[in-house]
Symmetry: C2
């Protein structure tokens, strides 16, 4: 996948493209009113962070599938420049992620992300606020979060709609975008419904929610977009990448749930026990519900005043009842299914593409954040 210290030209180009979008929008926004300029500015400052897993995945897969790809994937960084269309779509996928996060923070009522104030938290904080004005400011901040999410969603579509490729490829990309958004939205709707009890928390629904809310736009979208842009999206290859994206994506989300419940907050960035306090339906909880330990765990679930001591006790129970190892087993299932997909010669994926996915899976396996 290239040495760890490489800065592939593609990644730099993606970051530059995103910066250019925000620079232009801040400037035109300020012409309307300072608060609109500030909204774009604060949002742009929030986005330049992050791991950029989605653009990296797309650039790596494109490098592996492009017509001039070298069989040796270690040479990805040395290949020709990345076409503008690939950079644009990779940037758009990162903006889609940002758009989803903005609305997710509204659904969850979160004012921080990875330990720092998110956009809503920034806009909601004002020294000297009384209780009344603080409530109004929170409403202002959440509304701005919704509006900014809308603006980014529109921006994503504008990029896809204008991408410089053949009409058939652009149509395929637009179809893929529609699919990814649909699945992300229903995944999010199920996540919210499971949490408040509107949707019944059976195991299959919880797992499907985990997959839908993350896998499609995080893995399937970049992988299949790369194939379309590389002209390598035969029906078989496309299906294989869709399956690979689904397996990797569900594994990734299940890992996230394990990290939130059992991991080191200093590494994963979320409050310890926040999932427990919020009553978040995860695969860990779905598994625990099936065990005899559930009556002991249940009172703590959704208890927003859960103490650290209580949280650590529940953590122990979740381990002891087998829920943690069960979910590890689910992750192994997904990784096994991924490798089966990649091993199937009918997938029409070249070796470089298989290797890209195998390497990604290996990197995800050991992650702590």
């Amino acid at each position: 996948m290239g040495p760890a210290l490489d800065v592939p030209s593609g990644s730099t180009a993606v970051a530059s493209t995103i910066d250019a979008v925000f620079t232009a929008r801040v400037r035109s926004a300020e012409a309307y009113h300072p608060v609109f300029g500030q909204l774009w500015k604060l949002c742009g400052e929030r986005i330049s962070g992050g791991k950029g897993i989605r653009p990296r995945l797309m650039l790596d897969m494109f490098g592996a599938l492009r017509p001039d790809a070298r069989a040796d994937t270690r040479a990805v960084a040395e290949q020709g420049p990345v076409p503008a269309a690939v950079v644009d779509i990779a940037a758009a996928i990162e903006l889609l992620h940002a758009s989803f996060l903005l609305h997710d923070d509204v659904f969850d009522g979160d004012l921080t992300r990875r330990g720092s104030p998110n956009l809503i938290g920034l806009l909601a904080t004002h020294p000297g606020d009384t209780e009344t004005t603080a409530a109004q400011r929170l409403h202002w901040a959440r509304s701005c979060g919704i509006l900014m999410g809308d603006l980014l969603l529109a921006e994503v579509h504008q990029i896809f709609a204008r991408v410089d490729v053949e009409p058939a490829a652009r149509t395929a990309l637009l179809d893929l975008l529609a699919h990814a958004i649909t699945e992300s939205v229903v995944g999010e709707q199920l996540d919210i419904g499971l949490e408040d009890g509107t949707v019944v928390a059976d195991t299959a629904t919880v797992l499907e929610m985990c997959r839908l809310k993350t896998a499609t736009y995080t893995f399937e979208l970049p992988l299949r977009a790369a194939a379309i842009l590389a002209g390598a999206d035969s029906a078989a290859a496309d299906a294989a990448l869709a399956a690979a994206g689904a397996h990797l994506g569900l594994a990734f989300q299940l890992q996230d749930d394990l990290l939130s419940t059992f991991g080191d907050p200093a590494e994963h960035g979320k409050d310890a026990f926040s999932d427990l306090r919020e009553g978040k339906e995860t695969a860990v909880i779905a598994a625990a519900r099936m065990t005899s330990a559930w009556p002991e765990i249940e009172p703590a679930f959704g208890d927003c005043e859960l103490t650290v001591t209580e949280g650590e006790r529940v953590q122990r129970l979740l381990r002891e009842c087998g829920a943690e190892s069960f979910v590890h087993g689910l992750i192994d299932d997904q990784m096994r299914a991924l490798h089966e997909t990649l091993a199937d010669p009918a997938s029409e994926l070249p070796d470089a593409a298989r290797q890209t996915l195998v390497s990604l899976a290996a990197r995800l396996d050991g992650r702590r954040s």
Copy 2:
């Protein structure tokens, strides 16, 4: 504009197109989960109502500008069939309006629209809810409203991105859509900020907010889209339609504010005095602030427990201090500016197009809802 009982084939086609979108989306949504299917279904039922002013405006202007337009506008209904591209964009503009309303209802905390439950109101209502479960259900309903607004915004872009026209025309349409969304969003942001005091309520800002939040997507977008689709979007014509849209749109919004404050609730559909209770910054209030009556009015402004008697007293004060007639004067300003734009021969608008706009202005002049 055609006899009142005509059902122009274009309008029927637009309604059918919207129905077809919802039918298809409900079916595919149900395959994921019943709650997702229900979300699309309830949304579709809410949309089939409405006055459809935007699609009508676009169809009428297209009829006036199309290359084969007859000089006699009364023959609009008898012209050839409306091209699919025109129907699609008109339908998309109506979906854009629906998307904005969904998010507006979240910002305003409204559970009804025109006297009936809106989508949030429908989803938030459940017999047997306790105070706790009702709060959770309201959160569920608002989150669904945000998600549905996102889905419709995506749908709008998909339609624009795939419209069957020459690339240059499609790019022009996409630019126009970006412009309309930008102005609608900043208008909405200013509306919210003015209401809670984050944005200072000077008259110029209030008027600009009124224009931005309504005029661009309601008038400018359909008018200029029609010109692009008719191949009649010379720089001069496009500028004239943009100006006409701005004047008509601001006049329309100012009329809305007068109706909300002074009109008959049975006709305009909103609660009497709701704008006063919410502390909504309107041109009427901006004008009243400048008069000596303001200290008497101010305590009632934003008083969510305003009684009917109090509301009627404030109404009287707003009339007597001159605010009502001042805003009538602003509307007349806009209508005058509109007619100047239309009278300017440099606008390159054919007579049929001018006549369409003059007729529309005349219809808006006497409206009560």
